[in-house]
């Protein structure tokens, strides 16, 4: 049995690291500990970690089943989009990262309780005064091509990522290899979101094999051939058909039980549902609420999981232009008052979605319960519009047309807005056009439906809006920029949390930069034969290497 030995070794290593810095820790140094049931995991060091969200105590959930895992079988799952690349630096959106994560592991990852836990790293230390983040790496990890994972490869990966014009590691000025399993990131100014960005929330900490990259001609090859350290190695990808992976026997955390993973693309959601019901798909992924409700009735066949995270839809007016009607706060508030979010959430979410009025998700540390928000009040909305000098304000509601259900939702939003004195036309946009509007602010007028995946650290997702890189055109007052900057450079968790709460209140109650509607934590449907996979329970498409099929 190799696994217990490795676990033991890892434990030992971590204890060493912990005692090493726990002995005489600098006042503003934070350390994160591994997930394994270490006694020190609940110790003070972790609880002060700014990325630790921990509404519940930090423990990794034990396997949900008591059965002994069986080896063999191929896991078949649905993917709704083709991954566009496997080269981390150019990955965008959720699909690229989520699809590749069975093969390309990140330095850290978020667990079920949204705690940041080590994956290819074993821990980290931040030093606010010295503006550094020191990361210790896991030993004995091999890439699929047989090459070793070490500090030099890690630095190379991070440097590759930094070479692109990406916001995640912008504050990293240089990376030092301290020893063969320790790297140090030197920052231009302290930023407490860096470490979380090396988790599976982003692609910055995704590690690929340097050896294969260099032997095969670089970027273009790597974009199509993922060579990582994960439990599954790449077999083939056919666009519009899917991606196939096979077991990696040399995986650092023990040989996976599954023989492989077959990720399938099925364009029509109705057909996909029929395939799932017929048992040809083990994981359906995000399921329409109504279908999930029906599947839930058959407990002996299907499991429904509600993920801790979800899409957060928000309506933002094009307000950066002072001549736009949305530059007036009354108009933006009118949008927020116009929508019956309760009915909207209940009707479309059917109990799976949750209400919320701000960017941070309820139950996470960033959520500010004191934000008042804007209760449904169409009369108030009408008054506000009239106060701003508008009756029947004509505007376009732009959204990314990802499928029928988003059209349905926006049809409902349109009718709410129209009932409150707006005159809204829907403008469904395909991905590139929407991306152009959302990231570059091109062609945006009227209202845009922002659709972001919530994040355990709300500041990370807010970075795009604050810097004007995402939804350029949203009104972002200087006060918010200041509070955001203070927030990400906060030396301790308490300050960070307080500033984040302040930011949420500013965004909603004071400036109403967008009307936040709900968290669309769309249920994930799985066949009961699939065990211990954690898919959908842990965020960001994480699939446990311990998953197995109970045939």
């Amino acid at each position: 049995m190799r696994r217990p030995i490795i676990t033991l070794a890892v434990l030992l290593l971590i204890t060493l690291v912990l005692t090493g810095c726990g002995g005489n820790p600098p006042a503003n140094t934070t350390t994160v500990t591994p997930p394994v049931n270490t006694p020190s995991a609940t110790g003070p060091a972790t609880s002060s970690s700014p990325v630790s969200t921990a509404p519940s105590p930090t423990t990794t959930a034990p396997p949900t089943s008591t059965k002994t895992p069986k080896s063999g079988g191929t896991l078949v799952m649905l993917i709704t989009m083709d991954p566009s690349t496997f080269f981390p630096q150019v990955m965008t959106g959720q699909t690229d990262g989520h699809t590749s994560s069975v093969s390309l592991e990140t330095l850290f990852r978020f667990d079920k309780d949204l705690n940041l836990i080590p994956l290819l790293a074993t821990g980290y230390q931040t030093d606010v005064a010295a503006k550094t983040v020191t990361i210790t790496l896991r030993k004995g990890v091999k890439f699929h091509d047989g090459s070793d994972f070490n500090a030099e490869v890690c630095k190379w990966n991070l440097d590759q990522f930094r070479a692109g014009n990406r916001p995640e590691l912008k504050k990293v000025t240089s990376i030092d290899v301290v020893d063969s399993f320790t790297v140090r990131l030197n920052l231009s100014s302290f930023d407490n979101t860096i470490v979380a960005n090396l988790g599976n929330i982003s692609d910055a900490g995704r590690m690929i094999s340097k050896q294969s990259f260099e032997a095969n001609g670089g970027k273009d090859w790597a974009a199509k051939n993922p060579v990582g350290t994960g439990p599954f190695q790449f077999v083939s990808m056919t666009k519009d058909v899917g991606v196939k992976w096979k077991r990696f026997d040399g995986y650092w955390d023990g040989k996976p039980y599954l023989d492989g993973i077959d990720m399938r693309r099925i364009a029509d959601s109705t057909v996909a549902l029929m395939e799932f019901r017929s048992g040809n798909l083990h994981i359906l992924g995000s399921t329409a609420s109504r279908d999930a409700k029906a599947l839930e009735q058959e407990k002996n066949k299907y499991k429904i999981v509600i993920p801790p995270q979800g899409q957060v839809p928000a309506l933002a007016g094009f307000a950066i232009d002072p001549n736009s009607p949305f530059a007036k706060i009354e108009v933006r508030r009118a949008i927020a008052h116009a929508i019956d979010v309760k009915t909207f959430t209940d009707s479309f979410g059917m109990g799976y979605w949750r209400l919320q009025n701000q960017w941070a998700v309820p139950g996470t540390w960033g959520y500010n319960p004191d934000v008042k928000g804007y209760p449904y009040n169409p009369d108030k909305a009408r008054e506000l519009l009239a106060a701003a000098g508008h009756t029947g304000l004509k505007a376009v509601l732009n959204f990314n047309n990802t499928g029928q259900s988003i059209v349905d939702e926006n049809t409902a939003l349109q009718s709410y807005l129209n009932a409150a004195g707006f005159d809204i036309t829907l403008n469904p946009l395909q991905r590139p056009a929407f991306a152009d509007m959302a990231s570059n602010g091109k062609g945006w007028s009227g209202i845009v439906r922002q659709q972001g995946f919530s994040s355990p650290d709300p500041l990370i997702k807010y970075a795009g809006v604050i810097s004007g890189q995402e939804f350029a055109g949203t009104f972002v007052p200087q006060e918010m920029v200041d509070v955001f900057n203070q927030g990400i450079s906060a030396p301790d968790f308490a300050t960070k949390q307080q500033l984040t709460h302040k930011l949420m209140a500013l965004a909603v109650d004071k400036y109403c930069i967008a009307a936040y509607l709900c968290v669309q934590s769309s249920p994930i449907s799985k066949l009961v034969v699939l065990q211990d996979d954690e898919y959908g329970e842990a965020p960001f498409g994480y699939l446990s290497p311990k998953a197995w099929l109970d045939k």
Partner: protein, 314 residues
Amino acid sequence: MVTYIVRRLVLTLIVLIIVSFLSFSLMHVMPGDPAATMLGLGATQDEINALRKELWLDRPFFVQYGHWVYNLMQGDLGISIMYRDPINELLATRLPITLYISTLALVLSTLIGILAGIICAVRRGGFIDQSISLLANLGIAIPVFWLGILGIYFFGYKLGWLPMQGWVSPLDDFILSFKSVIMPVFLLAVPGIAVMARQTRSSMLEVIRQDYIRTAFSKGLRERVVVIRHALRNALIPVITLLGLQVRVLIGGSVLIETIFNIPGMGRLLVTGAFNKDFLVMQAGVLLMGGIVCLTNLLVDVSYGWLDPRIRYE
């Protein structure tokens, strides 16, 4: 005959040039910056500019067209924006799939269509004629995407007889491949059956009224003999012209069928290309489809001229 073929060849060439120009210009007026789309998030303006230069996007329209055609001649269609693969490779993997399905559908629709048309013509005005033309028209009138889902629901999900979706190459697993193409091929053939039946019927009716058929009947020949030996042979000549049209309809139909049945062919490629504003793929795909239809028309024209000598001297 040689003059006729040469004439046809020249005409086809001219049409092909116009087709290429239309394909190019149609996609070229698409809004949005393809270079920025191609590079994705995090690209600097310098990188975008460099790519624009590399793709010749900074040149005048006709220069770009010339460059595109020049590359086309070399077999280089560029790199797909969304797939990041060379487009000629993409087309090479996808075209055979669409051609395979379309050919099967063409054969199926021709066989059933001609047979139905003959029956209609022979029993014209009667119950069978009316029922068949109603059925044929029903075939044109049923939204194929709707029929597709119904088919998947009944034959795939409820009865479990056929795979619900997906593509299996006949070279990998012939039986499974055969099973999985039954529904797509049939649905693709449905509109063609109707058109074929209609054309065969009217062209048979015309032939049947000719004097030589009357003569044949008056000689006391049995109806079956007259229909098959005398009428059909002549009636089929105009039906051949339809084959060219059929190819056009079938290839167009693949857009819907491949989306429903999740078949990675040309149609699917075009739809994904359209959604992703992958104008290079759209250009190449539209051109290829147009080109295939052009060449089929040439083939049809030539065989038509060979079958009916009067045509050659138009």
